[in-house]
C-alpha cells in the first residue's frame, strides 16, 4: 500500500486532494490524533511530575492501568459541567475567543506533514504558513483576557503580549535559520533534503534546534515560561473565568500548540520520517518523535521553576537573540550539505 490516503480516496470514490485535505486536519496528524495524544500527554505529565515528587499520581480511576483513564473521567466531568458566563464579561467575545483560538491553531495541522504524503496541502512557504497560524493564537488569548474583564485575566493577557512577542521572534529566527540551511520553506522538501543528505537538522545546526525548542516551550505556556497562566499568582491567567467545555478548549489550546510545534520540530530538525519512506512507517516515525518530544517538554515541568517576566524578557532578547545570529552563521556554513542535494 503505497499511499493510504489515495487508497482511502479510491475506496470512497472521492478525488485524492479532497481526501487529503479532510484526512490530514481531522484524523492524522489532525484532531483525532491530537485528542489521543493530549489524553496521553496530560496523564503522563501528571504521572511524571508525581513520580519525581515521590507521589503516585492518578491511580484510583483505573488502578491496573496506572490511572490512565483518569483523563477520560475528567473529560466526562468537564463535558457535563455548566458553562458559567459571569455577568461582567463581554458575552460574544468571551465565548467565541477560545473557539476561534482553537480552530485557528488547529488549521496549522493541515500544513505540517505527519508522514510521507500525509498532509492537508503542500505549499512552497509551508513553514511560514504554520508559523503565521500559530502566531494568531496570542491575539485571541488577549481577546479572552480582555473579554473576561477580570484583573487576573487582564494581567495574564498583558503578560501574553509581552512574552509571546519575545518567543515568536526567537521561533521565527530559528525557523528562518533552518529555511536558510535547507534552502527551502516547503516542509516536505525540508524532510526530503534531510533524508537525502542523511543528516538530521539537529546535528547540522544544534543552535537553531535549541532555540526552536526553548521558544516552543514559551509559546505553548510550558514551565519554566508558563507565566501567562501563573497558577500561584494569577489563578489561570487569561483562562481564569472559563468553565466546562470552554475551559477544556483553553486547556487543549496550549497542548495543541505544543503538539504542532513538536511535530514541526520533528519535521524540521529530526528528519521527519527519516529512516523510512513508506507512508505508514514514516507516519509512525513522525508520531513517535512528536510524542517523545512532548514527553521531554512536560518532563521539564518537574525540573524548573517559573521565571519572572523580566527574566524571561532579558533571557529571550539578550541571550537567545544573539544565539540566533550564531544559528544563521552556522546555517550558512552547513548549507552546502543540503543545498547540493536539492539542486541535484
Amino acid at each position: 500500500m503505497a499511499d493510504p490516503v489515495a487508497w482511502l480516496a479510491g475506496l470512497l470514490g472521492v478525488p485524492v486532494w479532497l481526501a487529503r485535505s479532510v484526512f490530514a486536519p481531522l484524523v492524522y496528524p489532525g484532531l483525532l490524533a491530537f485528542t489521543v495524544v493530549a489524553l496521553f500527554i496530560i496523564w503522563a505529565e501528571r504521572k511524571i511530575t508525581a513520580r519525581v515528587q515521590m507521589r503516585v499520581g492518578p491511580y484510583y480511576v483505573s488502578p491496573r492501568l496506572g490511572g490512565a483513564l483518569q483523563l477520560l473521567a475528567d473529560g466526562v466531568r468537564i463535558a457535563f459541567q455548566e458553562v458559567i458566563i459571569p455577568r461582567q464579561v463581554e458575552r460574544y467575545s468571551f465565548i467565541l475567543a477560545p473557539v476561534l483560538g482553537f480552530a485557528v491553531t488547529a488549521m496549522a495541522l493541515a500544513v505540517v506533514p505527519g508522514g510521507p504524503g500525509v498532509y492537508g496541502f503542500r505549499s512552497s512557504v509551508g513553514l511560514l504558513v504554520a508559523y503565521a497560524l500559530l502566531g494568531l493564537a496570542p491575539l485571541l488569548v488577549v481577546v479572552m483576557g480582555w473579554a473576561a474583564n477580570n484583573k487576573f485575566t487582564q494581567i495574564g493577557a498583558a503578560r501574553e503580549i509581552l512574552v509571546s512577542v519575545a518567543g515568536e521572534v526567537t521561533l521565527l529566527a530559528s525557523l528562518l535559520a533552518a529555511a536558510m540551511m535547507y534552502g527551502t520553506m516547503d516542509l516536505v522538501e525540508i524532510v526530503e533534503a534531510q533524508a537525502a543528505a542523511g543528516v538530521p537538522g539537529i546535528v547540522a545546526n544544534p543552535v537553531a534546534a535549541l532555540l526552536f525548542f526553548i521558544a516552543a516551550l514559551l509559546i505553548a505556556d510550558r514551565v519554566p515560561f508558563d507565566l501567562v497562566l501563573g497558577e500561584q499568582e494569577i489563578v489561570q491567567g487569561p483562562y481564569t473565568e472559563y468553565s466546562g467545555v470552554l475551559f477544556a478548549l483553553t486547556m487543549a489550546l496550549d497542548y495543541l500548540k505544543l503538539y504542532i510545534l513538536m511535530m514541526l520540530f520533528a519535521d524540521v530538525f529530526l528528519g521527519g520520517w527519516m529512516p523510512f519512506s513508506d507512508p505508514l512507517l514514516g507516519s509512525a516515525a513522525v508520531f513517535a518523535k512528536t510524542v517523545a518530544l512532548m514527553l521531554a517538554a512536560v518532563f521539564l515541568r518537574s525540573v524548573y521553576a517559573r521565571m519572572r517576566l523580566d527574566q524571561v524578557a532579558s533571557m529571550f532578547w539578550s541571550k537567545l537573540f544573539p544565539l540566533a545570529l550564531i544559528a544563521f552563521v552556522l546555517s550558512a556554513a552547513v548549507h552546502p550539505l543540503y543545498g547540493g542535494v536539492l539542486a541535484g
Binding site: A50, V52, M54, R55, V56, F299, S302, V303
Partner: protein
C-alpha cells in the same frame, strides 16, 4: 568562617550548561525511584498512644457532675436532661470540639476518654451534635473501630535509602 565573609558570598555555582544538566539528571534520578506516599484508601495512619481524637463517652460510668461541660473551652459539651434519668448527662458536638482532651482529664470517674479516631464523615451539621444517648451509642461504634480497624494501620519509618517506608502496626 564568619557569616558574610567573602569566600562564602563569592562561591560560584556550576556553569549554565552544567547546571541545567545537573538539574535534569537529578529529576531523572527521582523519576526512577518508587513513590513513597501512603496509599490512603487501602491503609490508614497508625496513631501514637495518647493521640487525642474524638471523645468517647461511657454512659454507665458517668455520675452527672457537669465538670466536663464546665471545663470544655469550646462548649462542645452541654448537659442534657434525659427522660427517665434523674441525673443530667453530657451531650457532645463534634463540630465544636477542638480535641483538647480537657474533658477526659477532668472527669472524676473516667467516663470520658480520648480515642485514636479523628477523621469521620457526617451527613449534615445536626448529626454532629449528639445528645447523651446518641453519644453513648456512637462511642460504642468508635471503640469497636479502634479495636478492629477496617484497613491495615501503617506507621511511617524513616529509611536512609528510600526516604520513607511503611510498616504494619497491629491494633
Amino acid at each position: 568562617m564568619e557569616w558574610g565573609s567573602r569566600s562564602v558570598s563569592r562561591r560560584r555555582g556550576p556553569g549554565v550548561v552544567r547546571g541545567h544538566l545537573q538539574a535534569i539528571a537529578a529529576a531523572l534520578r527521582q523519576l526512577a525511584r518508587p513513590p513513597m506516599a501512603m496509599p490512603l484508601l487501602e491503609a490508614e495512619d497508625a496513631r501514637v498512644p495518647g493521640y487525642r481524637g474524638v471523645i468517647v463517652f461511657h454512659y454507665d460510668r458517668c455520675i452527672g457532675c457537669s465538670l466536663c461541660a464546665q471545663i470544655c473551652p469550646s462548649r462542645a459539651i452541654k448537659m442534657y436532661r434525659v427522660p427517665g434519668d434523674k441525673r443530667i448527662r453530657p451531650g457532645y458536638d463534634v463540630g465544636r470540639c477542638i480535641f483538647c482532651g480537657l474533658c477526659a482529664d477532668i472527669c472524676p470517674v473516667d467516663a470520658l476518654e480520648t480515642s485514636i479516631i479523628h477523621d469521620r464523615v457526617y451527613e449534615d451539621v445536626p448529626s454532629m451534635n449528639m445528645d447523651p444517648v446518641e453519644w453513648a451509642v456512637w462511642s460504642k461504634r468508635i471503640l469497636r473501630e479502634e479495636r478492629e480497624p477496617g484497613r491495615p494501620r501503617l506507621r511511617a519509618v524513616v529509611d536512609p535509602d528510600r526516604g520513607l517506608r511503611y510498616e504494619r502496626v497491629e491494633a
